[in-house]
Amino acid sequence: MASPNMLRTEALRCVWPDCTVALDSLDLSIRAGEVTALLGGNGAGKSSLLLSFNGILKPRSGRVLLGDQPLDYSANGLKALRQKVGIVFQNPDAQLFASSVYEDISFGLCNLGLPEPEARRRIEAAMELVGITALARKPVHHLSFGQKKRVALAGVLAMEPSVLLLDEPTAGLDPKGADEIMRFIRELQRSSAMTVVVATHDIEMVPLFCDRACVMDRGRVLFEGEVGSMFEHRDLVRQAGLRLPRIAHLIEILVTKDGFDLTGTAMTISAARKILKSMKVEREINDA
């Protein structure tokens, strides 16, 4: 691709019908082939941004670009857009409508007008991918919440989008389920070079599974950059009503309050472990 930016917004302003400003002069670039986390408190505009990436929410002013092309809001343009940009909603009950899992996954593919054998191949593959093959013929209301989330994801993945938008993919899942789904998305993104945007306030999973982070507050972008650089901009993170991952907070307190002299910063357990190990080695050298 000519541009490393898959999706871009320029001075994007979106207003809901009740006149609340959802997005306000927002400039943001989503890089191709990376996982970008959209962080922000409730009402920060994360979901609105995802909806505008998908052409559901039309800008009052400014524009959204896919690759280098501004979005085309005609019926055909939107059809082409939604083939490339898939969105998985936070609440699977708002997305799943068909009477069985298989039928629900087939819905998007039928709308693409794929020939039946190809559609069936893709449905099987998507179900295999997210591990729900055994549920194919079950009615949706017999599934658990975690299973519904997987079905919703499969329904979008089957359309083979090049950009995957996920609204709170871990909300409402137990730690194991949340971890599994993020691990799965990370693997998928690595193997198929998919561009993924995750709207979340699950701050702990961001350093583990995301490349970049974008912190939003009241419809604006406060910070955008590498996940690692969130530590330096922690004031902005806190301004948005968020916090650092617990480990990063611990490191911060050790340095600022307890006078520890640490080499670098850490957001994850493995990074913190590395720092502590290097301290241990240093002390052993000093003792010797």
Binding site: L51, N54, I56, A75, K79, R82, Q83, G86, I87, F89, N91, D93, A94, Q95, L96, F97, A98, S99, S100, Y102, E103, D104, S106, F107, G108, L109, C110, N111, L112, E116, A119, R120, I123, A136, R137, K138, P139, V140, H141, H142, G155, V156, M159
Partner: protein, 261 residues
């Protein structure tokens, strides 16, 4: 108690083509209604029940519990048919004088009530045969395949999907109300129920909007097109079924004309 929907989802006869199951269950209802004989009714009832329990794998205890639901209703409803009023008390088995006439039970009334009761029970068992073995989605597909308008089929299936959602939400709301002392007396019950109904309406409207957006995101253009799971529905021999139905018909004619009672 498991819902009929869950029974259907795990039935051993689930894979049999839904049209075939309807052909098994519906003609006998017509025959039973026409033959109007207790013996024939019992025959069909035994056939349906045996098929459901032996072939479908429904446990007798579950089946009995489901039969008891309409059975109570049936007994009360048909009991009234046996009661008659007449000027002469000789016609009754048991009677009480009311004014100049007497009200009581006649033997003809009892026979009629029994026949009616059995006919209704058999109709229930035939419909249970379909309900216990056929998921609604399969019925919808069968409806579409015989050429019912797609709008009707789509609406049926959407209603089916969202009835469960609506029911779940309604019961959650009712529980929340009860935990805050709703439904404790007559007036609080009315208040709580009206609040529940209006909340449910708002909830449904919002859910419909969310669903529409989500469907648009997957390229919805006004008609719902989906692929059936290629279930490889079993289509047992139609000749066997025709033979069975013919035998039943003969029995129906025989009992109806009184040669075999």
């Amino acid at each position: 108690m498991m819902t009929l929907d869950e029974h259907a989802a795990r039935s051993r006869l689930r894979d049999v083509a839904p049209g075939f199951k309807l052909l098994c269950a519906l003609p006998p209802i017509a025959m039973v209604l026409w033959a109007d004989s207790v013996l024939f009714s019992l025959l069909v009832f035994a056939l349906m029940s045996a098929a459901l329990m032996l072939k479908g794998g429904v446990r007798p205890a579950d089946y009995l519990r489901w039969l008891l639901l309409p059975a109570g209703f049936l007994v009360i409803g048909t009991g009234a048919v046996a009661v008659d009023a007449s000027a002469s008390p000789e016609a009754f088995i048991v009677s009480t004088p009311v004014g100049g006439a007497s009200i009581g039970i006649t033997s003809a009334g009892v026979a009629m009530a029994a026949r009616l009761c059995f006919r209704a029970l058999v109709a229930v068992s035939c419909l249970y045969f379909v309900a216990f073995t056929t998921p609604v989605a399969d019925l919808g597909r069968a409806m579409a395949s015989i050429g019912l308008p797609p709008l009707l089929v789509e609406m049926t299936l959407l209603v089916y999907r969202f009835v469960f959602l609506l029911f779940g939400t309604a019961s959650e709301m009712a529980t929340a109300q009860r935990s805050r002392l709703g439904y404790t007396g007559a007036s609080s019950s009315y208040r709580a129920l009206s609040a529940l109904a209006s909340n449910l309406f708002v909830f449904s409207a919002r859910r419909a909007e969310e669903l529409y957006v989500a469907m648009e995101c997957r390229g919805y253009d006004g008609s719902i097109r989906v692929l059936d799971p290629s279930s490889g529905a079993r289509q047992p021999s139609l000749a066997g079924l025709a033979l069975l139905e013919a035998a039943l018909l003969c029995a129906a004619i025989a009992t109806h004309s009184g040669r075999l009672f």
